[in-house]
Amino acid sequence: MPPSAMRAPSTRNSDPGEDLILLRRVAERDREAFERLYLEYHPRVIRFLYRLTRNTETAEEVFNDVMFVVWQKASDFRGHSRASTWILGIAYRKGLKAAAKARRLRAQRPFSELELATLQEPRSMVDRRELRDWVGKALDSLPDPQRIVIELAYFLGHSCAEISEIVGCPVNTVKTRMFHARRRLRDLLPHLGAPAASPSAAEISE
């Protein structure tokens, strides 16, 4: 299997030119354009926000706050970035706040060293649900800014430069956050993607 075959599918599925036109129309208070933009962004942004807050209602509320800002501020959009980057930037800022609040409400705390020692990472890729839960716990243990870089890269499929625009920080900051997030995740998930789970091309052709 060539390495490229293992790469994640991108979820950046909107047409940048189309989005820009819709956003310009929204700036002129075109309701139909707004609804189209709303329905286009709803699935992935709701899922992104749900991943950050673990609460469907919160995700819906935050998404509506995001789109309400889009309605009000569309005329401020100057087209220096992609429309999707601009919208996700709003979702990022609101999602970050909501995630912090959700964390407080759940009174969530990171893994203790004892839990780390006693919990067993699922070694089998067979139990995908268990694996997913485990990855979810590991992601939850990251500081929000690092977590969001991972979500933007792997859940929404954005590039480093795009994330820097969405988050509104220098590219180097994104790289640093990615670096620390990877290190932490590797410590928590040592068997994820281990050779046993992904046999090499040589093993397969044997």
Binding site: P2, P3, S4, M6, R7, A8, P9, S10, R29, R31, F34, E35, Y38, L39, H42, P43, I46, R47, Y50, R51, T56, A59, E60, F63, N64, M67, F68, W71, Q72, R128, L131, R132, V135, L139, I150, E151, A153, Y154, F155, G157, H158, S159, C160, E162, K175, M178, F179, R182, L185, R186, L189, L192, G193, A194, P195, A197, S198
Partner: protein, 231 residues
Amino acid sequence: MNQATPSADRHSEIWDLLPWYANSTLSDADQRTVEAHLESCTECARELSFLSGLSATMHAEEALLVPAERSLAAVTGRIDTVEAARQGRLDWRDVARIVRAKLAAGGGFRLDPALAAIALLLIVVTAWFGSSAFEPEFRTLSNVEAQASDAEPTIRLVFAGTATIDELQELLTGLGVTLVQGPSNYGVYTARIAAAPNGAQPVEVLDELRRHPLVSFAEPIPGPEAPGSAP
């Protein structure tokens, strides 16, 4: 030196590119560089396998079914409200006038929760739009009044959670009130006061609605012949 061990020299550089190789967002040139390095570096190949596993697991999340239509209706309701304010159908002058009227009516002034809600809304609207909201091109009550219109008075209504459809129908029919829009996500209806069967004036109808146990909010939407400003 570089020529002796090119891949070893590039290891840390490639290592930093791997997360972006794993999500297919590298430029073609960077992608080729990574692929060339991966052929000879098992450490990077292992890291890529880890990142790909992470990505695949994150994508395996069960589909979240949240119907868009319901939330779209909610945000549309919010937009309706601010757009109404932008177009001058809701103006701070109306709130000031209502407050003055209440004060003039004598006795202690109790801040009506409904009035407080409108005042709060106006404060928020003002903050959103800044001072531009109240510049001359913004339609105010005075220039709206100057326009001839035979529109029926429009109000916003919220019913008590205990109200049944039958009870509401009976109440509204009796007062000649027609729902024209709603409910918004916050349960707000827009309604028109037509001629009441008992000949009551819109102001009286509004008072009756406010006093009714099934109604938790009834306020005019200031505009032509709004009940609050009817003679």
